[in-house]
Assembly symmetry: C2
Homo-oligomer: 137 residues x 2
């Protein structure tokens, strides 16, 4: 989660993500929607794209995704399609919604409807993640 | 929808998408997950990325998305974030699920939870879209 917070802070956005296998960090990414003119360029999506390209495969089972903010249904679905094992987030959607408009569907609820359920847990270093929202949202 | 069906057929995948404003077609795209090693490269996502890059903006309001298959929550959320006006699909998720595993959340249901609701209607040229599923899924 530290790596996700650092990449977000570096890009001056509340949104950072990191993909790791066990203790080994593979990729980090920040939200780049504005700079790429790409509404899909959320941090989690960018991290998944980067790792898929790096490993030359779409199946990312065995990996854990860390993200500063609970993933929206776009990013949660991408995690499901990528067959990621587990996902840990900082601030939850109710907290993010105090700063920015959100799609009101929780990540764990979406995972339950999935063919590849992803283990989801939140509120990890959430005070630091909330500070990112306060600074950059 | 014809353009979405054609691009899907050309790429030998059930999944094609097109973005248009009124009668003017702007971009088409097909699913490219396998060839790009990108689990997020669904047809609708690729079309949205392409149009954002072309227009140099993330706000695609005024556009209509046509897609051969009802969008999964990733693609539906991307349409919501891109502020697309309306979305028309061919086969619905129950039909796609007869061929391929799906996340069981309907597009219209997700749109209702959204800050930017997208008008959603389905079963457009669905027999032709079903044939794509039968041929390529």
């Amino acid at each position: 989660m530290r790596a996700a917070i650092e990449i977000a802070d570096k890009h001056q956005t509340p949104f950072g993500a990191a993909l790791a296998m066990g203790d080994q960090l593979f990729v980090t990414a920040a939200n780049q929607t504005a700079e790429l003119n790409d509404p899909t360029a959320h941090a989690e999506i960018m991290a998944i794209r980067k790792l898929g390209e790096h490993l030359k495969k779409t199946n990312l089972s065995g990996f854990t995704l860390y993200t500063t903010c609970e993933p929206c249904p776009m990013c949660m679905s991408a995690s499901i399609w990528a067959k990621i094992d587990a996902l840990f987030y900082g601030c939850d959607i109710p907290t993010i919604s105090q700063f920015l408009g959100q799609i009101q569907l929780r990540a764990s609820s979406l995972s339950k409807n999935s063919i590849n359920p992803v283990y989801v847990a939140g509120n990890i270093l959430d005070e630091e993640c909330r500070q990112l929202l306060a600074n950059y949202a």
